[in-house]
Amino acid sequence: MKGFFNWIDDRTGIAKLTREALFERVPGGARWRYVWGSTLTFAIMVQFITGVFLWMGYSPSATSAWESVYYIQNEMSFGWLLRGIHHWTAQIMVILLLLHLVQVVIDSAYRAPREFNFWFGVILLFLTLAISLTGYLLPWDQKGFWATKVATNLAGVVPLIGEDLQKVIVGGSDYGHHTLTRFFALHAGVLPGALVALIVVHIYLFRRHGITEAKPATRAGALYYWCLLGVVFGALTVMAFIFKDSAKAWVPWSVAGVCAAIVLRIAFLFIRGKDDDSARRPRRDGMFWPDQILKDAIACVAVMAAVLFFVFWKGTELTAPADPSQPYNAARPDWYFMSLFQMLKFSVFEGALGLVIGAIIVPSILVSAVFMMPLIGTSKVGHWVNVVMLYSLIGGFAVLTAMGFNHDANDPEYKLGVANAHAEAERLNELISINGGIPPEGALTLLYKDPKIRGPKLFAANCASCHPHGGEDGIGGKVQDPSAPDLKGVGSHKWIAGLLDHKRYISAEYFGNTAFKDGKMADHLEDIELLPEDIEAVSAALASEAKVHGYIEPKGGKEFIDSGFDLMFEDLECADCHGIQGEDEGKGPSLTGYMSRDWMIRFVGNPSHADFYGVKNDRMPSFLGMTLKDGAEKPGELSRQDVELIVDWLRGEWPRSEGGKN
């Protein structure tokens, strides 16, 4: 075995390479504060591994990206875990990057001769952010689509080259296949390639210069850092209490708790702190293997544990497929870009110039400032300037991010947008399972043909300016001044019973805001004073014509229904005006097949037809196209499919999975 190993070593020099890699001296011994670089390397490895496996299941095109991610997430064995690890590691990586940067700056590890390594590190930071940004779009869901639209529009305001830059990134003027292919090539090819190349240089330079030994802790030094931390958390606590109404009660108290712990630590340092506590750790130098690697490994386990915690706790979001014609009130970037997003709301960044300043110039200045750190930090004062600058940057980042999230937590429109996107995604999952898969045109077509999802949207756009649906417009908005009957439960026994109650008939719930309030039907209902049992029987009869979803035959069965019809024909004189069961079509709306699917489609299509309101129609438009008396074609506002979708939704008829909730 040894001979074989020597044979390889003679030809490759692998033993020397391994020795050099492992037996690096760690001056002052292994320390926890040195783990950040290793955790980052680990996180990047995780991203490469999970990324390559995701790649095997992903298809970048406008009709297959969402679909393939859906398949990975819901159908492939452990796909949810693979995607979850990739997603959450990306989030945690940003935090690790910040910690790494903070540690490097605090320990002034950027000083000569390590300037270049610091600069490479900062470039790596931005490469990682670019990989995150491009990855956000790839599922091609509403969230990624709208956020990317904003991001690419911001690229479009870069002076001089913005317009061309945007076109090259987007792959044309419209977002589509080529936006995805380009983003994917950047996300999985160009940027990771650059990342690897720079990491090699970064680690080479790190090894060339060795670890920057952290100074032995002194009381003054420790007090200084803990006081800074105290200021940051003090500010966060004040903010948390100012905005305490917008978050759960435990949030401000938790922040306050951390702040109190910091204050205690400062007090402890004052009273008991030693000027040199280097005795607490070995004075001898440690070795990278195994001293530091053990600490690194434990830290990496903690990182993985955190990733898995989020995968299991929060899952990995996939909202409804991207649809540029479907407004999305919750377009937000990932949390680490939230501060930039929030900043652009300020009026100082108003207008075209403001946008260039806010989106391009200010971030560029801040990045330049970070780049300048090795040059600023050559003296002790310079180093302090850097530390204060870094804490201010992180503080500003934290405050702006908190402001952004706080705003959203209090914005009902945002919350509704998120809820709708989730509901649509959930419904789409159900539709895919009912359909047994996704049609070749893409998943969006399933949503467009679904009464449960499309119906309320079409209702909101076309009906809700007059008709409420349970007081709302179908998609969660309030109908301000309803002027026609509330259509929630239309055609059901309960709804029809309400209609037959004179008081309710002339109320805003039914015809109170229409011309029919003073019409014949209102007068008739008042005159005949229906008994509750009459209302029961007639409602049962009409509901049996409608047979909306959830219809159950009444207790008396067919006999009871027939008794309702008999009442309508005889005692109640309904047949004087209304056609009933195909007989005697009167001037009032036909009750033959009342509120059945076909009746409703014809009614919505042309309420002025003699079968319905005829000339007495009060404002209701004809939604389907028709041929006029002079032979001219009058196009309708909606297609037949759209009318069917609205009617099916109102009747509660949509595909349901076995054992589905509704």
């Binding site: 709208w146 090259v168 003027s173 947008g417 301000q480």
Partner: protein, 185 residues
């Protein structure tokens, strides 16, 4: 060390070395630039082609629009090509239509001219509101009191001839975001 291949034509070694270097660098550069050039040319191809321009589409009948002048949102779904796919009906965006007192109709692209989010209508305040950076726009599309957008909502061309027949036909078009001028893309 001297190298002379031909005594009658002495070759300066320095010059020969320079030539060797120059040719190597040139050859190396040339062979790399060919594949890179081909790649870059396709990368920049979106800059060469023209956009697909606007889409003329019927959205509504005039009588369907609210008489009180409040806006109504319509989806724009039309035939459109995207790289290799030709969609018979592709969702492109959405448009606010609103009836004017003089009988005319105003149409706005719902995409915010600031950064491209979808603008909504807040009936209670009678303003258009962008849920991203909180810009507001007045009913006529102009910039509202709180508005970081550099320009008002982008109005779209409404076919006046069709309007006389009671039909609302609009030329749907997207415009560059973040600048003061309304520039079609």
């Amino acid at each position: 060390m001297t190298e002379q291949t031909n005594e009658e034509e002495p070759l300066d070694p320095q010059r020969r070395e320079f030539m060797a270097k120059a040719v190597s660098v040139f050859a190396g550069g040339a062979i790399v630039s060919i594949p890179v050039g081909a790649g870059v040319a396709t990368l920049f191809s979106p800059l060469l082609g023209e956009g697909q321009g606007g889409v003329r589409i019927r959205l509504a009948a005039v009588e369907d629009l609210p008489a009180d002048g409040s806006p109504k949102l319509y989806q724009v779904v039309a035939e459109r090509s995207d790289a290799w796919t030709k969609y018979p009906a592709k969702p492109l965006g959405s448009v606010f239509l609103r009836k004017l007192e003089d009988g005319g109709v105003q149409a706005f692209n719902s995409s915010c001219p600031h950064a491209g989010c979808s603008v909504g209508f807040r009936a209670r305040d009678e303003v258009f509101y962008c849920p991203c950076h909180e810009s507001t726009f007045l009913l006529d599309g102009s910039r509202g009191e709180v508005c970081v957008s550099p320009r008002g909502l982008d109005s779209l061309e409404v076919d006046q001839e069709k309007l006389k027949e009671g039909e609302v036909w609009v030329t749907f078009q997207n415009f560059a975001a973040g600048i003061e001028d309304k520039k079609a893309i």
